[in-house]
Every structure is written in structure tokens, then in C-alpha cells.
Amino acid sequence: MLTTNLILILVVLSNLKLLGSSRLGASIRVVAAQGVVLGMLPILAHMNELSVRFAVLAVGTIALKGVVFPWFLFRAVREAEVTREIEPYVGYVASLVVGVLALGVSFWMCTRLPMPEAIASPWLAPVALFSIFAGLFLIISRKRAVSQVLGFLVLENGIYTFGVGVAARTPLLVEAGVLLDVFVAVFVMGITIFHISREFDHIEIDRLSTLKD
């Protein structure tokens, strides 16, 4: 219970750090750390009913989110030779304030949501919702294509957090399928970023919208 809560707080703090951080490399590391921490969640949340499938889920998540994605994103940043600044549309302080408001909204929403069954921690659903909000906000408020991938990963982490809380009801196949989807998505996005930067010498999304064929 306590370790689960600790992990959830780490997730909240890392989301806030992402909202307030200006460096691309640091953001990638934070998302990687978030992935590793979340990977341990299925084991800790279901300590009393430990089984092979939770172990498989944890190892797969940690390997993918903690090692493969960061390596891939760092490679994309290096190959595309983008500057390491994030360049937000919404400033860092304003983003932090939005983040705290989003946390408040998600706590309020979860008091209105009837939970089908007992979940691992009362904070789990609000934190999952907050991750989803934070991910969406990162996607719409940052200029760099790489930070959009990061926003997508945070969004997925939110869905994953919620999924783990009710993991006793979701089959392993569904979880594995989601992980595979995310892997393919990041893979494709990484390659796309590389190709866009090679064609157009930049990966700023506001300038991409002016490209018409």
C-alpha cells in the first residue's frame, strides 16, 4: 500500500517535472524513469497474488519503457540534430500551474466516478487521469516533435497505470498488445522524425502545417 502510494507520488512529481522542464534530454530521462517505476507497479500492487503474468508484464514494461524507448529517442534527437531546448507554446511556470489544476480536476472527477471494484490505492485513478491530462497537454503545448512523442508516452503511462490497478480483470494478452502498439508507435514516430528532419532541416510542428503537397 505504502510502496504503491510512493510510486504514484513519483509519477505525479515526474509529470510536474516534465511540465516545468526545459531540456529535451532531461525530459527523455524523466519519462524513462517514470516507465521503470511504473513497471514495478503491477508487482507491488498485487503483492499477495503474485504470478508469472505480472512478472512478465513488469519485465516487458521496464525493458521497453526504461531502455528501448529512451535509447530510440536519444538516437532520434542525435540524428535529427535538433537543439536541446523544448520551446513551448505555453511557458514553464504556466504549464506547472496548469498541471496542478489538472491534478485538482482529476481528483474531483474521481470523486464522481463510481469504481466498479476495490482498486489498489485511492490515489490510483486520479493519478492515472492526471497522467492522461499531462500527456495531452504536453502534446498540444510543445513545439518539438520529440516532446510530442514524450507526451504520447506519458498519456500511455496514464492508461497503463489505470490498467494495472484493475489488472486482475484484464487478460495478459490485452496488456501485451497495448505494449506492442506503443512500441510500434514510438518506432514509427522515431523514423518519421528522422525523415522529416532530413527533408526539411527542422522538426518544428508549427512549420510543418504550412507544408502542402
Binding site: I9, V12, L96, P126
Partner: protein, 302 residues
């Protein structure tokens, strides 16, 4: 009100300048210097009190009243502050609002006195001080609100009395976030290094020091002493939360006083290993402290 409530007040009055001495000594050890004597601040205060004050002809009574009102406000705030489960001299429901208000009053008069001199440097310092405090004050507010909501009490004495080992076991993460936010607020409110540099005398970079440039003699002694008391107050807030509770009242008090000096050492270490932040980054840190406090409050609700 009983005799034992006088102990926190007397301890604060006597020991608070020593906190500054401990910070200076820690910094000196880190820098490989011998450093000034631990009791240097007392000598400074004594020396300043012997001197006469010099007043510029452009200043009015506000400039003279500033240090006195500041000291009076912070002394009243000290009376509200319990230490080591020892009740404060004054305690009533809602006194934490008065506590924040008194600190605000002290800051207001420091700022107004600085503006009264008509110096452009002091105006700049005043503007920065007000800007930063606009960000730290909400953080402090939410921190105390979280404590009030965790303990169900609305007076500082009653609020800190039930915070104990069992409380940490039950809602440790919330309290840890509160302590983290409180430490950042402590550094910012007391003009310590990541926000302001207490040693610098380059007018362009300082915040608190530049506001008191024109004060001299007893006025400066009052300001120095108020600053020491303010540091004592914030350290007492942190100690009140993290202190391990024992059965013996005297042991509690001893631990609390020890804790105060541990915090002074921590502040000294932070000052030695960190550089001062760039001015545009400071608001980010302070909003971050507010965010920690808000997260703690929200997590504490459920």
C-alpha cells in the same frame, strides 16, 4: 498560558542568532576557512546597538518605523510558534493565519522603508522581494492548510502536537512533500542561496540585502535580529513536522533544539554546494514549491 510556554519564546530570543552563526560556520568548513566565531552575530548586534543611526534627509517616519514594526511583528509571530510539543504562549483556532499575516506585515514594512529612501537600487530589491513573496506566500499557506487538514486542528500549537511517528507511518508521503515545499519556502523567505545571496554586496544581484542598505546602527541591529528570528520560525515549522516524538517533554525539547541546528547545517550545506539560480529561474522553483504543497494537499484529501 503557563510557565512552560515561556520556554519556546526564551529559546527563540536567545538562540536564534546562533543559527546564523552555525550556517556561517558550515559554509566556512566547506570552503576550508576557519570562519568567524560562532557567536559573531551577537557581537555584531551588540556593536550596532551601541552606535547612533544616520537618517537621510529624503526619508520620512516610515523609514524609522520599518525596522521596529518588523521586529514587533516577528516577535508576535514567535509567541505563536510551539517548539518540541511545548505549547506556544498564544494559541487560538486560526492563529496560523495571523502567523502568515504577521510575516507579511514584517515584509511590507521592510519593503515600504526601502522604497521610502528613494534609491533606485532599493526599489529594485523591493520589487524582487514582493515578486518572490507573492509566490512563496501561497505555498506557505497551502502547507499550513495541509497540516490543518491532516490533523483537523486550526491552531499552530494544536496542529503540531499530534504530528508524530504514527502520523508519518500513516501519511508519510504527504508529510514528506510538505517538508520539501517548506524547505524551499524557508530558503526563499530567508534570502538564502538558491534564491538570494546573503553575502553579496553587488546591488544588481541581491534581494534582501539591498533593501536594508540605508539602515544603520540600532535599526540594522533590529533588522538582523528579525531576520534571525524569522529563520528560527521557519526552522521550527520544519522541526515541528519531522521531529520524532518521545514521552519525556524535556527530551522532546532537547531534540527540537538539536533539530533546529541540524536544519541550520543543512541550509549551510545547500549554500555551499549550490549556485544562486538565475533570476528568471527563481519563479519556477517557487512555483514548484507551491506545486509540491498543492499535490500534498490534494493527496491528503483522499
Amino acid at each position: 498560558m503557563n510557565a512552560i510556554s515561556l520556554i519556546p519564546l526564551l529559546l527563540a530570543l536567545v538562540l536564534s542568532p546562533l543559527l546564523l552563526g552555525v550556517i556561517n560556520r558550515t559554509k566556512a568548513i566547506f570552503a576550508g576557512r576557519c570562519g568567524q566565531p560562532l557567536l559573531q552575530i551577537y557581537s555584531d548586534l551588540w556593536k550596532l546597538l551601541q552606535k547612533g543611526a544616520v537618517y537621510s534627509r529624503t526619508t520620512t517616519w516610515i523609514f524609522r518605523a520599518g525596522p521596529m514594526i518588523g521586529l514587533a511583528a516577528v516577535l508576535t509571530a514567535v509567541m505563536l510558534m510551539p517548539l518540541g510539543k511545548c505549547p506556544a504562549l498564544l494559541a487560538f483556532p486560526g492563529d496560523f493565519l495571523l502567523f502568515i499575516g504577521l510575516l507579511g506585515l514584517m515584509r511590507f514594512f521592510t519593503v515600504v522603508a526601502a522604497l521610502d529612501t528613494g534609491s533606485s537600487f532599493e526599489g529594485m530589491g523591493a520589487s524582487r522581494e514582493v515578486f518572490f513573496s507573492a509566490l512563496t506566500e501561497p505555498a506557505l499557506f497551502v502547507v499550513l492548510l495541509t497540516l490543518a487538514q491532516q490533523t483537523g486542528q486550526f491552531s499552530l500549537t494544536a496542529m503540531f502536537a499530534p504530528v508524530s511517528n504514527a502520523h508519518w507511518l500513516h501519511s508519510g508521503p504527504v508529510l514528506a512533500l510538505v517538508v520539501l515545499a517548506l524547505m524551499i519556502v524557508l530558503l526563499a523567505e530567508n534570502a538564502r542561496i538558491p534564491v538570494d545571496d546573503p553575502n553579496t554586496h553587488l546591488e544588481l544581484t541581491m534581494v534582501h540585502e539591498v533593501m536594508v542598505l540605508d539602515h544603520s546602527g540600532p535599526d540594522l541591529a533590529f533588522i538582523l535580529y528579525s531576520a534571525a528570528l524569522k529563520l528560527w520560525l521557519f526552522a521550527a515549522l520544519v522541526v515541528g513536522i519531522v521531529l520524532p516524538v518521545t514521552d519525556s517533554a524535556w527530551l522532546n525539547l532537547l531534540l527540537a533544539v538539536g533539530g533546529m541546528f541540524v536544519i541550520a547545517v543543512i541550509v549551510g550545506v545547500i549554500e555551499s554546494v549550490m549556485a544562486r539560480l538565475r533570476l528568471p529561474v527563481v519563479p519556477q522553483l517557487l512555483v514548484g514549491a507551491g506545486a509540491f504543497a498543492a499535490v500534498a494537499f490534494l493527496l491528503g484529501l483522499t
